[in-house]
C-alpha cells in the first residue's frame, strides 16, 4: 500500500469515529496546552526578571560581599554561612588602590531595611549609605534625578529617594517630594533593648522610575544618604557590599579581577558578577521549567494511556476488518503502519491545538499577572519593581518539543495495540464476531 493510501485509510478510520477521536485528542490537547502554557510563562518570567536584573545590575560591575553568597553581609541575606568576616567602608579604597588596573572605581554601600510611616500604613524602604558622585558614575543611567538634583558633595541631611518612595500609589499622591523633610525608622536590633531610631533628612532629588531590580544598583524603593551619615547613624563602618566598576565587561577581566579580590580577602569575601547571577538565575529557571514540564507531562501520560485504551477498543471492533485486509493481501507492517498513522494524526492534531491553546492560556495568565506590583525583600535589601510585565515566550525549542512530545507519546502508547493488530491471524480475525 502506498504511503498516501495508508494516510488516507487512517484518516478515514478516524473520521468514522469523530467523537471518540475528538475525546482522545482532547487528552493530548490538555497535556500539551499545560506544558506549553507553563513553559512559556516561566520563560517569559525568566526573561522579565533577567531584563530587570540587567537594568539594575550593570554587566561591568562586581559585587563584593562578606562571604557565602548574595547579601550575606551585615544583615544576613540568602546563601552562605556567617564566617565572622566583615567588609568595611575603607576596603573599597583598598580595592581601588591596591588591586588590578582593570578596576575603574569601587564604592562601599551600607544598606539597612527601614520604614516610612504614612498614616496607618508602613512602607518598607532600603536605606543606603553611598558616595553619591561615584554611585552616579557607576549607575549613570539609573541614579538619575527626575526632579531636584543629586549633589556630588552633599550636605549631611541630604537624601535622594526612589520613585516608589515618593509616589508609592502611582496616582500622584506623593508620600514625599523634593525639599520636604522625611523621617525614616530603623529598628536598631543590636541595641538593648532593641529600639526604633529615626533618621531625618531633606529630599533633594527623586529618582526617575527604574523598573528593574538588582543587587547594589539603585532601586525604586531605595532611599540614599551620604555614606558618612550612614556610618554615624548606624554606628558602624561595616559595609554591606562593595561595588567594583570595571574598565570593561569581558569575561577575562571579570575573572581576573574576581580572583584578585578573592585573594586579597583570603577567600573570605564573595565576588558576584552580573553574568554569574544571570547564569545562576538561568539554571534555577531551567530546574523550575523541568519540574513544571514534568508535572504537565503527567497529564500527557494519562492522555497516552487513554490513546492506548481507545486503540485497543478500536482493535477489537476492527478485528474483522483487519482480517479482510489481510485476506486481500495486506502485510503485517502495513496494518501496523495504519494504526501508528492514526496515532500520529491524533498526536499531531492534539499537539497543534494544544500549543495554540497553551499559548492563549499563557497570555491570559500573563495578563492577569501583569500590573501587579512586586516587592522583593532580600535580607536587608529591598528591591522593588514598578510594574511586572510578563510576556510569555514560546521558543522554537518549546514549540518543536511539544509537537514531538505530543506525537511521541501518542505513537509510544499506540505501539502495543498496533503491534497486536499486525499480528492477528487472518483466519481468526475473519471469524471474529
Amino acid at each position: 500500500m502506498r504511503s498516501q493510501d495508508v494516510l488516507s485509510y487512517s484518516f478515514g478510520a478516524i473520521r468514522l469515529r469523530k467523537l471518540r477521536a475528538g475525546l482522545t485528542t482532547l487528552g493530548v490537547v490538555i497535556g500539551i496546552a499545560a506544558i506549553v502554557a507553563l513553559l512559556s510563562i516561566t520563560q517569559g518570567l525568566q526573561d522579565t526578571i533577567t531584563r530587570q536584573l540587567e537594568t539594575g545590575f550593570a554587566a561591568d560591575t562586581l559585587i563584593v560581599t562578606s562571604g557565602g553568597g548574595l547579601g550575606a553581609g551585615a544583615g544576613g541575606g540568602f546563601g552562605g554561612a556567617d564566617s565572622g568576616f566583615k567588609l568595611f567602608v575603607d576596603d573599597a579604597l583598598a580595592i581601588n588602590e591596591t588591586l588590578s588596573p582593570d578596576i575603574e572605581t569601587s564604592i562601599a554601600l551600607i544598606q539597612k531595611v527601614g520604614y516610612i510611616q504614612s498614616g496607618e500604613r508602613t512602607r518598607t524602604v532600603t536605606l543606603t549609605g553611598v558616595d553619591f558622585a561615584k554611585y552616579a558614575d557607576i549607575y549613570g543611567s539609573t541614579f538619575v534625578a527626575e526632579s531636584g538634583n543629586i549633589p556630588s558633595t552633599p550636605e549631611n541631611d541630604v537624601i535622594v529617594v526612589g520613585k516608589r518612595v515618593s509616589d508609592p500609589w502611582k496616582n500622584e499622591t506623593l508620600l514625599c517630594n523634593v525639599n520636604e523633610t522625611v523621617e525614616i525608622l530603623w529598628l536598631n536590633a543590636s541595641a538593648r533593648p532593641p529600639r526604633n531610631e529615626t533618621y531625618t533628612g531633606n529630599v533633594t532629588a527623586v529618582l526617575k522610575e527604574i523598573g528593574g531590580f538588582g543587587i547594589g544598583g539603585p532601586s525604586d524603593s531605595g532611599i540614599y544618604i551620604p555614606i558618612s551619615q550612614a556610618e554615624s547613624f548606624f554606628e558602624t563602618d561595616e559595609c554591606t557590599m562593595i561595588i567594583v566598576k570595571l574598565k570593561n565587561s569581558d569575561k577575562a577581566t571579570i575573572d581576573s579581577v574576581s580572583e584578585a579580590i578573592t585573594n586579597y580577602f583570603e577567600d573570605q569575601a564573595s565576588v558576584i558578577s552580573a553574568t554569574a547571577v544571570l547564569n545562576i538565575l538561568s539554571s534555577i529557571f531551567s530546574i523550575i521549567q523541568l519540574f513544571l514540564a514534568g508535572i504537565a507531562a503527567i497529564s500527557l501520560l494519562v492522555a497516552g494511556i487513554g490513546i492506548m485504551n481507545i486503540m485497543i477498543v478500536s482493535l477489537m471492533e476492527r478485528t474483522r476488518e483487519i482480517g479482510i485486509l489481510k485476506a486481500l493481501g495486506m502485510k503485517n507492517r502495513t496494518v501496523l503502519l495504519i494504526f501508528l498513522c492514526e496515532s500520529v494524526i491524533i498526536g499531531l492534531m492534539g499537539a497543534v491545538i494544544g500549543i495554540g491553546l497553551g499559548w492563549v492560556l499563557a497570555n491570559v495568565v500573563a495578563m492577569a499577572l501583569t500590573g501587579e506590583n512586586a516587592s522583593v525583600v532580600m535580607g536587608n535589601q529591598t528591591a522593588a519593581t514598578g510594574r511586572m510585565t510578563i510576556t510569555p515566550v514560546l521558543t522554537p525549542t518549546v514549540f518543536l518539543g511539544a509537537l514531538a512530545f505530543g506525537v511521541g507519546v501518542s505513537v509510544i502508547f499506540a505501539l502495543y495495540p498496533a503491534w497486536r493488530a499486525s499480528k492477528l491471524k487472518p483466519v481468526e480475525a475473519l471469524r471474529y464476531e
Partner: protein, 227 residues
Amino acid sequence: MTAIVEAVNLKKTYMLGKIPVEALRDVNLKVENGDFLSILGPSGSGKSTLLNLIGALDKPTNGKMLIEGVDVSTLNDSQLADLRRKIGFVFQFFNLIPRFTARENVELSMSIAHMSKAERRKRAESLLETVGLKERMNHKPAELSGGEQQRVAIARALANNPKFLLMDEPTGNIDSKTANEIMVLIKRLNEEKGVTMIMVTHDQRLAGETKKTVQMSDGVITGEAVN
C-alpha cells in the same frame, strides 16, 4: 494441465480448549487451471478449513498445500500476504468495508497491491460494470442489497487478476432468485474469462452447476464427481 492448487496428505488439527480436533485428515486434492470446483459437505465437514488453507489464510498442521507448486507452509507472513494478493476471496457474509463505497471497496484490494489511483479507479469501474453494478458504484454496502454486495465482493476478488477465486458459500446469505443470478455471473466469469473457481457450498443443487464436485465429510474427501 498444470495443477494450480494441490493438497497432499493435508492435515489440520485445532485445539478446542485442551482437546485436539482434527478438522482435516489426509486430504488430497488437485485443482487445475480453468476448473470450477465445488466442495460440498455438511456443516463441520472441514470444507471451510480446506478453503482457508487453499487461500493461504492458515497453515496446515501436516502435509503440503501447494499453490502453483509453492508449499504454503514454507512461507513467512510477508510472503503469505504476497500470495494472497494473487487469490480472490468471496465470503458468505460479503466482508465489505462498511465506510467505503462499492467502488472504494473494489479499489481497496488494488491499493493494497500498490496500484496507482487513476488505474485502480478505472479498473474498479470496469469490474463493477462487469458484475452489473455500474449505476450503484458510489453506494455504500448498507445501501446495497445482499446480492449487490456479493457482486461488489466478486468484483473486488477479481481486481488483482487472481490466479483463482475462492468462494465460501457465496450464495448462502442471499435469496434464491439473487443466488441464481450470482451463480450465472460466476459461471460466466469461469467460462468466458477462464477464471479458476473453487466454491464451498452445502447446497447440492449449486454444486451441480460446477464442473467438478468434491464431497467432504468429517475432514476427509469422501467422493469426487465430474458434473
